[in-house]
Symmetry: C2
Subunit: 339 residues, 2 copies
């Protein structure tokens, strides 16, 4: 057995026999059509009158972490981006950038994880591409997934649809994905049983829609966490956002880990949590749906009248004493390669 069977070589990306082998023996069995015949583009019946389209690259380090791996992340991440527009996910693409020397067994585990995650979300990986870069020019495995989803006619869930007086809800406790990654990198100096919150959100979104909850905006709380998401939405809408510090659900383990490292749990990445913005009158119904999935789902704040759009800090946090402090998004260098 040559090393071409056990590790990735440059030839696996060269368009010759090893490329064909990789595709026909690993990727087609996992994702391909029954007849194994691939084309430059895949065809699909249009799933509706309005499509959602999204893309994300995944460079998380390490590839496997407590509660997930880069393969699941690549599926749920793009499924969640589609769900944030209210879309039902339909099809995914899969772009792999492999580093020469990657263990074939690692790639196989990731491919199986992608397949299982796609099955769970009822989406199909229908088109793909594989490139190989020289040792030292990549980092094992990068993944890109793009997704197509179907949006029900007339649905407009978007940062520009929010209104003064709207309520902000989170779908569960915050910060676990970021902390799980730090634990996996052994940057914490202690062990923990904590796992990433990585999970698909599309069924929860569909339940909200099916229950007739009027949704103004949804945003999954990935890189930059709640802090970045709230800041972006406030800027887009020309509003200020007031968050109630005490109402924001954060597990004690997350809080402790963040204290140790001088990090803010509200800026930590999540991969299975979203912000839901809806009229105040819809809060009870929305929370009923959200709490079926996660008991920690809570109303955490309110949209207030707009100020100058160049406002440096459009998001403020009110603590238990009623004191307001601006929430700063930071430059962003503290947590690289989190997704």
């Amino acid at each position: 057995m040559g090393s071409s069977d056990t590790t990735i070589q440059l030839a696996h990306g060269g368009g010759g026999r090893l490329s064909q082998q990789l595709i026909q023996e690993l990727l087609v069995p996992a994702f391909g059509p029954a007849n194994g015949v691939l084309h430059d583009a895949a065809l699909l019946p249009s799933p509706g009158q309005t499509l959602a389209f999204t893309t994300d690259s995944y460079v998380v380090r390490p590839l496997f972490f407590p509660g997930g791996n880069i393969g699941e992340l690549a599926v749920y991440g793009s499924v969640n981006d589609l769900a944030m527009a209210g879309a039902i996910p339909v099809a995914l693409s899969l772009g792999l950038i492999l580093e020469e020397g990657l263990e074939m067994a690692t790639l196989e585990r990731v491919v199986q994880a992608i397949r299982a995650a796609a099955d769970r979300c009822n989406v199909k990986v229908i088109t793909g591409d594989t490139k190989v870069v020289e040792r030292g020019k990549g980092d094992g495995l990068f993944i890109n997934t793009s997704g197509i989803g179907a949006v029900e006619r007339g649905l407009w869930i978007h940062p520009t649809a929010v209104r003064e007086g709207d309520a902000l809800l989170v779908s569960g406790d915050l910060g676990r994905h970021g902390v799980a990654i730090l634990i996996a990198r052994e940057e914490l100096g202690f062990r923990s049983t904590m796992e990433s919150d990585l999970a698909p959100l599309h069924t929860t979104v569909q339940e909200l829609i099916n229950e007739g909850v009027e949704l103004h905006c949804l945003r999954d709380l990935t890189r930059g966490g709640l802090t970045s998401a709230a800041d972006e939405i406030a800027r887009a809408a020309g509003c200020t956002i007031e968050l109630e510090e005490e109402a924001i659900p954060v597990q004690l383990q997350v809080r402790s880990a963040c204290n140790l490292l001088g990090l803010d749990p509200l800026s930590m990445a999540n991969e299975g949590r979203m912000l839901v913005i809806c009229p105040a009158s819809e809060v009870d119904r929305a929370l009923t749906v959200l709490q079926r999935q996660n008991a920690a789902a809570s109303k955490i704040g309110t949209l207030k009248a707009g100020t100058d759009v160049r406002n440096l800090h459009p998001v403020v946090l009110r603590n238990s004493l009623g004191v307001l402090r601006p929430l700063d998004i930071g430059r962003g260098e503290r947590l690289p390669r989190i997704c």
Copy 2:
């Protein structure tokens, strides 16, 4: 002016202020909506009843080469994949994986090239993502583009649609992209004025369709060149393919460069050339359309009756003496990072 203005830093991928700056100051002006408000997924009206969907990552080295650059390649490459299914390209996604330390000026040049290429193809980049990896874990800039296209009802241009007796045509001379990359890497030991054949093919495909040419299969001749494309189609269709060596257009410069390096021009990558497979009765009309774009377009071979699908060499080359030799696709290690 800090280095955050002139080079990419990890924080540009961290979801904080530098991420926002990169997006709002570079990417939104090039691609974004007029109001600058982005969402996790972009919405678009479905362009038809049948969609084509494709993805490709681009890791070409160097980023700029005679006749093109990674940005143009990322647009035309995915536009061409859509065109190979007969689709009219509609929307692209753009995923950037940047290496810490990349010159901001380089990124700006690439972004402008992407914008210009997309404009030329009448497609819009409607969704995107940016990740940053540490110095030494990437190679300047990798790009993924995925594309959505619209396929006219009933059109079925696919490797499984080819028939015994079909003719094979190429849309122009072969091998220039691969040689241009080798020249750019200074692997040839001499200079040349040769440029890549990089170009979009969708308008040519639409002209063929509009002229009523019955198209059975189209395949752009990228990695692995004509050799890999013919091999894959022969296997998919369970046919053999007989190519006429003398009829295959290759410029003298390409032939000489390949001779020097012991490479086969038929296995060199092209980024603006396609194989057209159609009934023999359609050859004249197809060539008329193809030769409007490139005078070197030619009929180069024929599909013959199938043999054992496990045939090691389903493609044979007939030379001027009538001698047949099998065309071997090779392992694929000779030309890494060509696209």
